[in-house]
Subunit: 508 residues, 2 copies
């Protein structure tokens, strides 16, 4: 038996265990070839065990001969105190991997097999390599039946919310467009109208902000399911972080492999989005698909194929879906990064004259589609109703109530104090903004970890810029981030003037 | 810039880097999502860099704020001293991954693309996940052209031996049968005859011994290419460890992913075996495919398909191949584990009356096929010639010369002193031996790490056993291994008496 010891290494999402090469009780070499061990509590405790990837340690300061080191994830998931006694054994690969192997050989997976695979993935029984095997076997060919079964299986793995209302609406964007924070305007409009919209959002993973990050500038977003219910009961809606309520956790594991591999299949996107909506208890969804040269979906044809897939699965799992194509040519609004985005959102809700017109128009469009689900409104009247609720200040009042109910953030969050402007090197017209590049610069500036970090865009496509006029401003909170962001912006700013990219043009 | 620090963790085959979450120069979170970084020496040195998987550390004792920790593999491959200054950057994924992605989407890879993929894999630029992507995309469908290109690409990645002789023979077994050490008898027979046979062998990875492990009981096997040439020049043959001469190193990387995933495609086996033979400079090869219920190839049909694949690729790359099907129903010889196997081999070479007859017969069969490549022998005369060389003691003399030339091992290696017998729980006839189970027990006993550990088989299929008679003996060098091996043998011994498996039958 070995004593467990916590090793402060973060190997998310993987469980990692560290065994001394000169372990007293086990022959480390014996486990090495297959790399995976099963760790179980020694007797006397309830039966619990985890699978972990094995690393062999040659330094007694890291792990001693009678110890088993556990990385942060493995330690947390095993749930035993330091010093607890455990046994280890060569891990039997999850049984569901047999179905993955048959899939590789060309067979179709049954819904039962997919259930088992997804359950094993959600409980961290698959190594990243094994997850890659599942994803790639599916990426080469997935039947619509498999896609459907995957969606259902993913929805089943975590919490499943139920609501009393007959109509539970939601709005989702497939992402990829910086500053596209319409959810924070659509939700209060819908709440003001009186429909139930328990909005769960994600935090940024590779982007400069997720809706949960931006909402957190204004209010607490890490609500328990019970607190979330209370807020929705009183205010019709909420804007909380979905990660905290554990919806479709298999998706969170899958994404940690999809991202480094850049596997991005439509089928997996459909299963990911719709499983979360199903688990969240939504009945009617508006889905925003931005289309543009630097967006996730780059052509109308691609957008239509994705819409058809979404509609097919939604119908089968009993969700009503309304897919809206939007302009994905450039970032939305002005601010990129939590504080700067929150500022734009509040400006729109407050009907301030300088509020970004594109963010406002797009929010009204999407809110209108959501309101059209209300049978009490006559077809097509949703948009006018959305506009009225925004203009009258009712949406702002709803937002303030939601913020209060979730717990208002105390203290003012301000844009990062370190600033530099990217300026127009010549007079011209802005002809392109590269969503990907702009997101990258904002992220280097420190967003979303530093709430005030990010970019503030002064010129959008079609705008005229005089030589020397600022195109956007970089905000950072820390010197090192500031330097990284500036040097990337100098290399290429992500803006084109009269079709020529802006480079080496910074005023410090 | 960060100072490198060696971290004594073995993450073979992967490069791993450890960065403090509170790193002074870089934002750890920025690299986290994609998990992979590029490490390069700060200026002033020749340009060198490696890719590594990133782990975030929260313990300043493991890695400080101004340091970059490197696991054993990454440290070795970067090749800089501790304290050297490096820069890190988000890794650009290897360009060849685009071809893998197209393969996943259903396209066929060109020879040029396969060259680039295999070169990147051999130089550790692919993470295990990315290797899995390549293997699985190929496992679902590989054209014969792709298999051929993979074989050629793999042969090109490492050392490529050239020999002066017009006929350079080799003999290879696809493996899976414990005790099947015919190479150590075939090679001296062939050397005695006068053909050139520069035999490179592998060490065990999941089996209780590889030919290199067993040969090491008798002689040094870690020879440089130059020393290997000298031995072959003087003795016609050698028996060295292939890992030391770096033949087809991509194969060694691929296997670290194939094994934990249990992906075992015929195409990959063909590329693996034939690329090594091509790189070794062989011209004529005898390939042993054991067929049996617990062997790698389980039916005649499967064996024939594999033979056709081997013949196709061998022909295209200019190798003459002679495929021999052998009985793979049970282990060969008596000893399983380096010392015990070496004892059997020397008994056969010395024509001792008690030498295992099956090992002898099989060695003569295979040596005969190798000698048949000699145009000076009349077709089919190889077998008689092999028998004669063995019986006359010429093969033994050749073996002694090879041992001397490579460097004889000093000191006697003996079977492990801790012994226990698995005994017949009833009188009956041995009807089956499970190769997989027996290998597992021998490995737990300590083979191949402890040369003397392993099993000594007293009864083979068809033998009669009286109740209480020993079926086999477990040898261990260390108490803990001994206990593990015994408890696994107690659970199920891997022997059947009159078709009933032997369980819980041990005399200590």
């Amino acid at each position: 038996m070995l004593k467990i010891r916590k090793i402060a290494l973060d190997t998310e999402p993987e469980n990692t265990a560290f065994l001394s090469r000169h372990c007293a009780a086990y022959r480390a070499e014996e486990f090495r070839a297959l790399k995976k061990i099963e760790i179980s509590a020694a007797q006397g405790r309830e039966k619990r065990g985890i699978l972990a990837t094995l690393v062999i340690a040659d330094d007694p300061a890291i792990v001693g001969r009678e110890e088993l080191g556990l990385g942060a994830q493995a330690f947390r998931r095993l749930g035993l105190p330091e010093g607890a006694l455990v046994r280890i054994a060569q891990a039997r690969p999850p049984k569901s991997l047999d179905a993955v192997r048959r899939k590789i050989a060309g067979e179709v997976m049954s819904p039962g097999e997919i259930d088992a695979i997804i359950a094993d993935i959600a409980t961290h029984r698959y190594s990243p390599m094994e997850i890659a095997a599942f994803l790639i076997a599916s990426a080469s060919f997935t039947t619509t039946g498999e896609m459907l079964a995957t969606t259902r299986a993913m929805a089943k793995t975590g919490a499943q919310l139920k609501w009393d209302a007959p109509l539970v609406v939601d709005k989702h964007c497939i992402g990829g467009i910086p500053g596209n924070r319409t959810s924070m305007i659509v939700t209060p409009i819908v709440a003001a109208h009186g429909l139930q919209m328990p909005k769960t959002s994600s935090r940024a993973i590779t982007s400069p902000s997720g809706t949960a990050d931006t909402m957190e500038v204004l209010a607490d977003v890490s609500l328990s399911i019970d607190r979330m219910r209370e807020v929705v009961q009183h205010e019709n809606a909420c804007l909380v972080w979905g990660g905290h309520v554990n919806l479709s956790p298999a998706d969170d594991v899958l994404i940690t492999v999809e991202r480094p591999l850049s596997i991005d299949t439509r089928e997996q996107m459909v299963a990911s989005i719709l499983s979360k909506k199903l688990a969240a208890g939504s009945t009617h969804i508006v889905l925003d698909i931005p289309v543009g040269p630097t967006a996730k979906v780059r052509s109308q044809g691609e957008a239509i194929r994705l819409r058809k897939l979404m509609e097919f699965v939604a119908k089968e799992i009993g969700l009503v879906i309304d897919v809206v194509f939007t302009n994905g040519a450039q970032p939305v609004g002005r601010g990129i990064g939590p504080v700067l985005e929150a500022r734009d959102i509040m400006a729109v809700l407050k009907n301030e004259p300088g509020a970004p017109a594109d963010l406002k128009a797009r929010s009204i469009l999407l809110a209108g589609h959501v309101l059209d689900f209300d049978p009490a409104l006559r077809g097509g009247a949703g948009r006018a109703r959305a506009q009225a609720l925004l203009h009258s200040g009712e949406a702002l009042a709803a937002m303030e109530r939601i913020i209060e109910a979730q717990g208002r953030t105390t203290g003012d969050l301000l844009p990062g104090a370190l600033c530099a402007d990217v300026i127009a090197p010549r007079t011209g017209c802005v002809t392109a903004l590269d969503c990907f590049r702009i997101a990258r610069i904002a992220r280097l500036a420190g967003a979303p970890m530093d709430k005030g970090a990010g970019l503030d865009l002064f010129k959008k496509i079609g705008d005229h810029a005089e030589k020397g006029e600022p195109l956007y401003r970089i905000h950072s909170c820390f010197k090192s981030d500031f330097e990284f962001a500036k040097s990337m912006a100098m290399e290429s700013a992500g803006v084109s003037l009269d079709d020529a990219p802006v480079r080496e043009s910074l005023r410090k």
